[in-house]
């Protein structure tokens, strides 16, 4: 057994450590000094502390991008991993900025601390390359998210959503662990590279297939892919808006990162022919998500549920990229996930503001938004069009990059083309329901005409995200230093 180089380990996990320390700090500050202060002030302080913590972690990652595997391969650090982690931290920071004025919680310190814990889980998941580390990190993430979902204690919907999320998630986690145990049994190791090597010399056995399916179940749950998607609409609808934003953004990015790593493990080069069954599973999940996500979204009248189903559809597109299993498609999936997550945070930020003003997220609540707050409406326009894949916004670019990489993978062939065609066709369908929301915003007359008040911090955050959506769409090369294109 190799001796642990703890210094190295510490260095590698410094971002996570920073977050942990900051979360404890938040708790101390909030429960210690600010106990008697006003709710708003406590929330503001906690959120800003959290943002600072994320910022520190980002700074560390940007200053020290060291590509070196560590701890016997349990964690990986490469530029892609670093990019994903930075992205996750940015997303969490944005979520915290948008939470500064939330009123659903009387425990701001706990809220922010758990958000930071979830973020830590996301960072670990992204870097993990060992089955056990993956599981632990995923659990950290999931449990934090379950709790966060229930945070709006006065809302019955929130509790119900959290319960559904928890039950479903717990079951999926159990299945995944079961699958992991079979894998360990088949290969004798928990390290992904070790598994890859061991599977290379084995033939497909029913046990392996069961293991693969169970792992798929667990990971499919995290990314909300068909048929493990049932939790998504209710959770997206019931959870408080910043939490939904977090679930829809950072959690997704982390889950796709681990999917990429796991897929890489299940398909070592020599195993490629027999890895086909894993690919088939992914493809079915992808196709199902694309079709069901888009079709179900057509019928929605609640913007949150619409975005939930659209999230399922987007997961489907990304799964196609994973099924293509080339280095380029992996990078493309990550790019897609990050930009999608960014856009989604913005969208849920807008939803939060509209809900605060009108009390509902149904289509009618958005009617005439363009007259009540033109800037807010404009940002939502940009987010939704980006999700639909309209150039020159980043969503279009991400889709193009993703589908191009799918078609370029050597195993694409006719099926690949057919799936891309399916995805593009579904994108056309998606324009319909995004336009429905935009129609309400721009075309319909508002029920009340008072302007919707938005604090400058919130507006600045949303405008920043919108600007990023436009700039990244016009100049995709901006990110190519971290995530290679082409």
């Amino acid at each position: 057994m190799n001796s642990m180089n703890y210094g190295n380990l510490f260095a590698i996990t410094l971002p996570e450590t920073i977050l942990e320390i900051v979360s404890l700090l938040v708790l101390i500050v909030d429960l210690g000094w600010l106990r008697k202060s006003a709710q708003a002030a406590r929330m503001a302080v906690a959120c800003w502390l959290g943002v600072l913590g994320c910022g520190g972690a980002i700074a560390w990652l940007m200053l020290h991008p060291e590509p070196v595997g560590i701890a016997g391969g349990a964690l990986a650090a490469s530029s892609l991993v670093a990019a994903a982690q930075i992205g996750i931290l940015v997303l969490s920071a944005l979520v915290l900025l948008l939470s500064v004025r939330v009123e659903f919680s009387r425990n701001p310190g706990e809220f922010v601390a758990i958000v930071l814990l979830a973020t830590t889980g996301m960072l670990l998941v992204t870097a993990a390359r060992d089955l056990l580390v993956i599981f632990v990190a995923l659990e950290l993430l999931s449990l934090s998210l379950y709790v966060l979902t229930a945070f709006a204690k006065s809302s019955a919907q929130s509790s119900e959503a959290a319960l559904k999320y928890y039950l479903f998630g717990g079951m999926s986690a159990a299945l995944m662990l079961f699958g992991f145990s079979y894998l360990y049994g088949l290969t004798g190791t928990t390290s992904l590279t070790g598994i890859a090597a061991a599977l290379a010399s084995q033939s497909v056995s029913p046990l392996l297939v069961v293991a693969l399916v169970m792992v798929a179940a667990g990971l499919g749950f995290k990314v909300a892919a068909v048929p493990f998607h049932l939790w998504a609409p209710d959770t997206y609808q019931g959870a408080p808006a910043p939490v939904t934003a977090l679930i829809a953004s950072g959690s997704k990015v982390a889950s796709f990162a681990v999917l990429i790593a796991v897929t890489g493990a299940f398909l070592p080069a020599a195993y490629a022919g027999q890895g086909a069954s894993w690919i088939v599973v992914l493809v079915w999940m992808a196709a199902g998500s694309i079709v069901l996500g888009n079709l179900a979204a057509l019928a929605q009248t609640s913007v949150r549920r619409l975005l939930a189903y659209s999230a399922i559809a987007h997961a489907g597109y990304m799964l196609l990229g994973i099924a293509a299993h080339t280095a380029q498609s992996g990078a493309a999936v990550l790019y897609y996930a990050l930009t999608y997550a960014l856009t989604t945070v913005g969208a849920f930020g807008v939803i939060a503001l509209v809900e605060r003003e009108t009390g509902s997220d149904r289509f009618d609540a958005f009617a005439g938004l363009s007259r009540r707050n033109p800037l807010l409406a404009a940002t939502m326009l940009l987010y939704l069009l980006s999700l639909a894949g309209i150039p020159p916004l980043v969503g279009f670019w991400a889709k193009f990059n993703l589908f191009a990489s799918v078609l370029r993978s050597p195993s694409a062939g006719v099926w690949g083309l057919g799936l891309v065609a399916l995805a593009l066709g579904a994108s056309a369908v998606s324009l319909y329901y995004y336009l429905q929301v935009l129609k309400r915003i721009y075309v319909a007359k508002p029920a009340q005409v008072e302007p919707i008040a938005v604090s400058s911090l919130e507006m600045a955050t949303l405008v920043l995200i919108a600007a990023a959506v436009v700039v990244l769409g016009l100049l995709p090369s901006v990110l190519s230093g971290w995530i290679p294109l082409g």
Partner: protein, 509 residues
């Protein structure tokens, strides 16, 4: 220099989006200035280039890792279409002059969307990088939706959504083809000329061509994917209808020529077997085009809504354009491009007459109701304008449509004699429906009595505004000028068509 058409339009759109509320009159003047600027640039570029071949405009690396460049260039065809866009833009703004008159009308948003659409259209016509072309093509979709959904009339939300979805579906088809071509050619360039030289396997071209062609043809209003056009045109406000029928449908035809036919010329080759006399994609699409010509004309003949007559007539005229493209001959494609210009101008004129001059004042488009209003006497300007525009649209010599239609027919005769005959029949039906509409709307013999038999006096209508007159003179004058001296455009078009890939023009005589 021509690229400034794009930049001006988008910059104008952005400024208008941020325009202060309450200064709406200034907004429309600003929009007109921007559109005039675009037209001036387009005209200057056109004249300066003369009958040169392609004129390079810009070439910047955009995403070099994927071979995507910001490359703009204009050959004769592009220059002609840029000119058309400029004309349509100016005319459209002139005919929407009263948008800002009513309180709360959000004129600045209207003009912002309008200019954004124009910018996108300019971009498509000037792009040489296929990715860039696609981006501009898609950019044009969203403003269309809002223009119709917010300021339109009959069933505007339905019409807008249908239009947006059809366009998007068409562009999705195009994207699949483009991605496949990009991947097959090694994924290192998206430049049209470079990709055109890549020898795609014939089997690949055999499915890529119909896919991409259909994707663009949807926007061009090819039968049977044309159903968005009449609904959309009727639902749209006048300026948007003018743009839609006048310019946006030409985007589709342009894409068919510039992308589908240039990249995959062997997709037009005979299949080796024939089914009911159809032996190649070329014949399939020519057949659909001809059906569109006749179907559009026949349906226009029985419409009772004036705007629907014009809407279906657009489908018919675009069928002629597509037929001309598929003749794969110098004269046929020349005619098709000239027809694109001619119909663009004339469709604008017709929609302006019906939508703006008539509907604004009479508030009805029903031919039956209009026939009782003695519009020939009440609105002589509109009546005679429609006579002139209608004659031009019928293809009367002396106006731009005649030469274009003759060229297409001659080209079609060499390639598909029977189709040429049917197309000719369609053109004759075109005379009939234009005639019928003109008669019923303006010069009807219906006694001017209401339901009780009492005589209706000739109604008094607002006089024609200066803006309407200016727009009319611009469009009608252009059609007359080109009709009498088509060389003005043909001198630019012919070299550009000659420069099309050899493989393409070998298919016809």
């Amino acid at each position: 220099m021509l690229a400034y058409t794009i930049y001006l339009s988008f910059a104008g759109a952005l400024v208008l989006a941020l325009w202060p509320r309450g200064r709406m009159r200034a907004a429309r003047v600003f929009a007109l200035a921007v559109a005039l600027g675009g037209l001036a640039v387009g005209l200057a570029g056109f004249v300066a280039a003369g009958s040169q071949g392609a004129v390079a405009i810009a070439d910047l690396a955009w995403v070099p890792a994927m071979g995507i460049h910001y490359t703009l260039a204009a050959d004769g065809i592009s220059r002609v279409l840029v000119l058309l866009t400029g004309l349509a833009a100016v005319a459209g703004i002139l005919f929407s002059w009263n948008i800002g008159d009513k309180e709360g009308d959000r004129a600045n948003e209207f003009f912002a969307f309008f200019l954004a659409l124009i910018g996108g259209v300019y971009g498509v016509f000037l792009s040489v990088d296929l990715f860039l072309l696609f981006v501009f093509y898609e950019i044009a979709i969203v403003p269309k939706y809002f223009l119709i959904a917010i300021w339109g009339s009959t069933r505007r939300e339905y019409g807008a959504m249908k239009l947006a979805l059809y366009s998007f579906a068409g562009s999705a088809m195009v994207l699949i083809g483009l991605l496949a071509a990009y991947a097959t050619a090694g994924s290192h360039t998206m430049n049209l000329h470079e990709l055109a030289q890549y020898p795609f396997p014939v089997s690949f071209q055999m499915w890529a061509f119909p896919l991409v062609f259909t994707g663009f043809a949807i926007l061009a209003g090819m039968w049977p994917f044309h159903t968005w056009a009449p609904t959309g045109h009727v639902a749209a406000p006048t300026a948007a209808s003018m743009l839609l029928a006048g310019v946006v449908m030409k985007l589709g035809a342009y894409g068919c020529l510039r992308v589908a036919m240039t990249l995959f010329p062997h997709g037009l080759d005979p299949w080796g077997f024939s089914f009911l006399g159809i032996g190649s994609w070329r014949t399939v699409f020519a057949l659909l085009a001809v059906i569109g010509i006749v179907y559009g004309a026949a349906v226009a003949l029985v419409q009772n809504d004036f705007k629907f007559v014009i809407g279906y007539s657009s489908v018919s005229h675009m069928g002629l354009v597509l037929l001309g493209l598929l003749t794969l001959s110098q004269i046929g494609i020349d005619g098709a491009v000239l027809q694109m210009f001619s119909h663009g101008v004339l469709a604008g004129l017709l929609f302006a007459t019906v939508g703006r001059i008539v509907y604004e004042r009479t508030h009805t488009r029903d031919l039956g109701l209009l026939s009782k209003l003695q519009l020939g006497k009440a609105m002589p300007f509109a009546a005679w304008l429609f006579v002139i525009a209608g004659m031009a649209s019928m293809g009367l010599p002396g106006f731009s449509g005649f030469v274009a239609e003759v060229q297409v027919l001659i080209g079609a005769w060499h390639a598909f004699p029977w189709f040429a005959v049917v197309a000719g029949v369609g053109i004759v039906v075109g005379v009939a429906y234009t005639w019928r509409a003109m008669q019923r709307a303006f010069f009807s013999d219906t006694p001017a009595v209401d339901s009780n038999g009492a005589a209706i006096a000739v109604p008094e209508y607002e006089p024609v505004t200066w803006a309407e007159k200016a727009g009319v003179i611009l469009l009608a004058g252009t059609s007359l000028l080109i009709g009498l001296y088509p060389r003005l455009l043909l001198d630019a078009i012919e070299p550009a068509v000659r420069a099309l890939p050899h493989a393409l023009l070998m298919g016809g005589r």
